[in-house]
Symmetry: C2
Subunit: 293 residues, 2 copies
């Protein structure tokens, strides 16, 4: 597996101001001396990214579908253009802006999948290309334990600038390939969100009132219900695209259904001993105190 951490950047000596200066030094520009454009800059992740950059002294322009700076002007003025639009619109936005960028600029995206957007960026532009995926939502509770994935696809003078920006904001950098990102995220986001939505929809058909589910809730069920609520109150289209646009999710579902069929077999026979033996075949989990509720 080709994944490596930029350890130097994670080092706190580099993650503060001097680190940022170092990175700016590498690309030979002074803080604030170039402009940055965010397409979709008014959206959740777009405005999060904009806040980070403005906080570090950059001049940031936003382009919306029908507002903000025109994409043509943005491509002319900005040395860095960041695409932060819904997954389903990403490829067409990349196709539109890519050809307008000069070869010494940087094109980035913030999408939750990486293979298709990075491929589209590489083919649509002569600019440098860095895929990017913040592993958190636009309003994280705290900066602790936040990570961001960077996929440096074609970089030279801009190679270290994005990691410098995010590391200076206290965020852990994971550098990997688009393929490796999508392979792991098919589980971490694809299968996990699918499972959450599946359970939420099943609860909607189980014939038990929400108030009774809450009243009889165990601690484990209570925290599950909170996660279900968060996903079901969120952007359905975004979750759907995370699941449907990652081709590896389908084979995970196949495995999921196969194991479900096995477990159903034990349940239909009332074979608790068999079910328990099958459960025990999982690789050992972390050693933690069980709650057994």
């Amino acid at each position: 597996m080709h994944v490596r951490l930029l350890c130097g950047i994670e080092n706190s000596r580099f993650a503060k101001g001097p680190g940022k200066k170092l990175f700016l030094g590498v690309i030979g520009v002074k803080e604030g001396s170039f402009e940055i454009g965010i397409i979709g800059g008014a959206g959740g992740m777009g405005s999060w990214c904009s806040d980070i950059l403005r906080g570090q002294g950059y001049r940031v322009h936003a382009a919306g579908r029908n507002s903000g700076m025109a994409v043509e002007e943005m491509a002319r003025r900005c040395s860095v253009v960041i695409v932060s639009v819904p997954i389903e619109a990403t490829l067409s936005v990349i196709d539109r802006v890519g050809p307008l960028l000069s070869g010494d600029s940087l094109l980035m995206d913030l999408t939750s999948v990486k293979e298709a957007p990075v491929r589209a960026m590489l083919s649509s532009t002569g600019a440098e290309v860095m895929g990017c995926h913040p592993l958190f939502g636009p309003r994280p509770d705290s900066v602790d334990d936040l990570s961001i994935v960077l996929c440096p696809a074609r970089v030279d003078r801009w190679a270290s600038w994005p990691s410098g920006i995010f590391a200076a904001a206290g965020i852990k950098i994971i550098e990997t390939t688009p393929e490796e990102h999508d392979r792991v995220m098919a589980v971490v986001q694809g299968l996990n969100h699918l499972d959450t939505i599946l359970l939420a929809l099943t609860l909607g058909h189980c014939g038990i009132e929400r108030s009774d589910l809450e009243r009889f809730a165990t601690p484990l069920f209570r925290s599950r219900l909170a996660a279900l609520d968060r996903v079901m109150a969120g952007n359905h289209r975004m979750y759907a695209e995370i699941i449907c646009s990652n081709p590896r999710v389908a084979s995970l579902i196949e495995e999921f259904e196969k194991i479900l069929g096995e477990l159903r077999g034990y349940i239909e026979k009332g074979d608790g001993a068999g079910f328990a033996a099958r459960t025990a075949t999982a690789r050992p989990a972390k050693v933690i105190p069980p709650v057994e509720d």
Copy 2:
């Protein structure tokens, strides 16, 4: 739905010492003047229950499979006998102890299912019968928000004693029928634990190292992983019995599989819009800020 809260007991005036005295008054006994036996008293819930009772001044005896007080002596000495053994052993233990109890004593169980044990208690003994299910594990993090289900199946002089004991320990009382309990718990425990075990087993087959799942984890996946770990580090046989001994779980799986098939259809076609529209058919969840990770 026949469920009612014993509001008077939840009232803090009654949940403290005076409340307990009141309940003891009802059954015409003085605190500590009768003995209590717990079969399986050395186990997790058995020792939790024993601690509660001893803390309230009772003399408690424990019977294990090969240790502690003999069940025959326990039945002779104790006015209250509580069965706290694994689900799969519950019915045979009830059949053994039930006939030994006098008609003025109380037989209780602490099992996670209620229909079969309560039926077995009613038919095996002439004593009073109260089914009971603490909706938490033996080592709860705090007493806040803990609930216990009571199913008064045949009670007269002992009707209020169990709720007085638990309310005095700060635990919320839910009084309901065994049927209603098992109907709701088929979802809250059965389906929820099944789904957790299913996801854990699928993760074990997904070909991605645990360390990579952790490194790429979003906040939602991180909390899901913690729940998986807790269940997989717990008592597999107990979870298996909770799932396999509740006959309503099978029909929930049918619905779960049907919805999974529908969702798979959208995924295989890459139809994010259709998937999102299906997601939106769930009954509205609580209004909470989404995290969208």
